[in-house]
Symmetry: C2
Subunit: 344 residues, 2 copies
DNA sequence: CTGAAAGCGCTTACAG
DNA sequence: CTGAAAGCGCTTACAG
């Protein structure tokens, strides 16, 4: 009773049999006699025996635990992904250890170390905005531990990943703005070192080009928070009348919200004066705004499910074969009032 | 190289010393000579040695891991709490295992089992809506494992808890409605088996009584989702004119949002026709609504911090003494447009 | 059908 | 200053 928890030894002593037999009986090993099994199981139940997973992990060099690193749990998107992971983990008998990088590489490195020490069976990671060096991530692979990136994937490292069609989504969003008659389209973009930001901007860019619409540097502002969205929109509004955009495509919903706030404050009507569309479709937010915000939906829950499934597939291989799957999920254009002009 | 990871044995073999000495050198034990330490540490770094926490956990009967069970991660409130927990856990060298009950007791029971098997050092739990039997929770304490409830605490079990002043918060919210001139105040309430719902309703009830305002059964409807809030508000609006409430106090923000939607659809003005206030103050939502929603703020992040601190305090005791701390944090009334009448 | 023995990786009281 | 030994709780190849 050292740890207060019943062990196999306790059961063995009580029944006057060996620990080995108890162990076998508990896992219904065919060798063990029915009567022994019955005795063991009934005692185990009586004493509320709970196998020590720590010992099992050590024995098997397998913890049945997955390490997750996300920038911040509080975001709707990331908590959806985590839910998706947890969903599959639960049915497959895995536990999850969750760490937040808080967008800081130092913390991401520390998280990686902690999870490695804990011998998680695999990593599911979405990198921080400040992750520009990748040694800690490469280190995971060097140790032969499976790694799957999701959403914010790291192209410098060759491994599995789950992402969405950021380029296509942005292209669709921008094309949609063009279709409803907008001609001067601004973009509030994310940090360019993140592939997702880069791709979204590229989709925006290409949609304009292909529709022979002007690309103007002062219509492209880096902003990915409510506050920055607000400030940037103010800047756009304050451009000389002829140059003022008639639409904004924001890299994510919260930035769009900031922009909307600024537009309203300036007495501009959405979408009549300026149409606006976000990205990621925070379903707990976008439909509830006024006007409801159009966005590009990414299936967060499904991304999580796919990420853990790639991990499960990897560990079911007889051995690491260096073949990596890059799963790319579709996005969906969600049209709401913020891009629905009256004439439609 | 069984597991692909470097072990103490590997270091020992390489240096021709014993594993014991390596172990001591790595933890800077005073007995070990400087030169040995240097050799060990430099080799450890060279080979990128990462101690195996699983083995350490087994050895010490301590995993430095905390188990968290929440109803659902996706809620702003719960992810704030988790962030608060993670924040302290990180600085204190703890890892967190997070499970969701999805509001189902069966899953909560399974989560408890899994975390017990993993020998987490303690539990931080917010119970599900359907948790009416508490054996699985009592079982945690019976095993001498510390348990701290937060937010949705379970009064049948005597242990630490962190909650907020639900009664006072509800009382304040209702009083506020009365102060701005509302006289017929409805309440959208949560499931009554949850203490928080019960307390909020009681605060509402008592505020009305003390202000000599009528309590009417058909003004109190159980609703705690957007959809139910919507439906219930419709019911309230459809009451005979004289009985139609002039204010709604909702058990949480999302229910208030549903109600707002219904009111708007019926052409009613907020707050002029019907004022409305929520609870919990989802800061990613309430301020962005139109009109911005008043609410009662609960400090989610702080709740998480306090919960893990109670756990840390408990395990720092020389032994379990059965003395439990019930921490109750303040709420704050956040007044926004949804309860700000023009005359104010 | 059952048990003794060895080992997963680490730590530490004990001995020298 | 260093090492051999035992043990944390479990599992399994080997032997009988």
């Amino acid at each position: 009773m050292k740890s207060g928890q019943v062990t196999i030894k306790d059961l063995a002593r009580e029944l006057n049999i060996s620990a080995a037999t108890v162990s076998r009986a508990l896992k219904d090993h065919p060798d063990i006699s029915k009567s022994t099994k019955k005795a063991v199981i009934s005692l185990a139940e009586k004493l509320n025996y709970q196998p020590n997973s720590v010992a099992q992990s050590l024995r098997h060099s397998k913890t049945n635990t997955i390490g997750i690193i996300v920038p911040e749990i509080i975001h709707y998107f990331f908590s959806s992904v985590i839910s998706g992971i947890e969903d599959v983990a639960y049915t497959e008998g895995y536990n999850v250890m969750i760490c937040q990088s808080n967008e800081k590489i130092e913390r991401e490195i520390a998280n990686t170390k902690a999870l490695l020490s804990n011998r998680v069976d695999g990593f599911l990671v979405s990198i921080s905005k400040s992750t520009q060096n990748f040694d800690h991530l490469q280190n995971i692979l060097n140790r032969n531990v499976p790694l799957v990136f999701f959403d914010r994937i790291c192209t410098n490292i060759n491994t599995h990943s789950v992402s969405v069609e950021d380029y296509e989504g942005a292209y669709k969003a921008t094309s949609h703005l063009i279709e409803i008659g907008c001609k001067k389209i601004a973009h509030l973009s994310g940090p360019q070192n993140l592939l997702i930001s880069y791709n979204r901007q590229k989709g925006y860019h290409d949609a304009l080009i292909q529709n022979n619409l002007p690309i103007q540097d002062d219509w492209i502002l880096v902003a990915d928070s409510l506050e920055q969205g607000f400030k940037s929109a103010k800047k756009l509004v304050n451009l000389p009348k002829a140059e003022r955009p008639d639409a904004i495509f924001a890299v994510n919903d919260i930035t769009a919200v900031g922009a909307m706030k600024a537009l309203k404050e300036c007495g501009l009507k959405i979408p009549e004066d300026i149409a606006i569309i976000g990205f990621s479709d925070d379903q707990k937010l976008a439909p509830l705004l006024e006007p409801p915000l159009s966005s590009v939906a990414q299936p967060g829950f499904e991304i999580g499910q796919e990420a853990i499934k790639l991990f499960l597939k990897e560990i079911s291989k007889p051995e690491r074969d260096g073949v990596f799957e890059k799963k790319v999920l579709k996005t969906e254009l969600i049209i709401r009032e913020s891009t629905r002009k009256n004439k439609d």
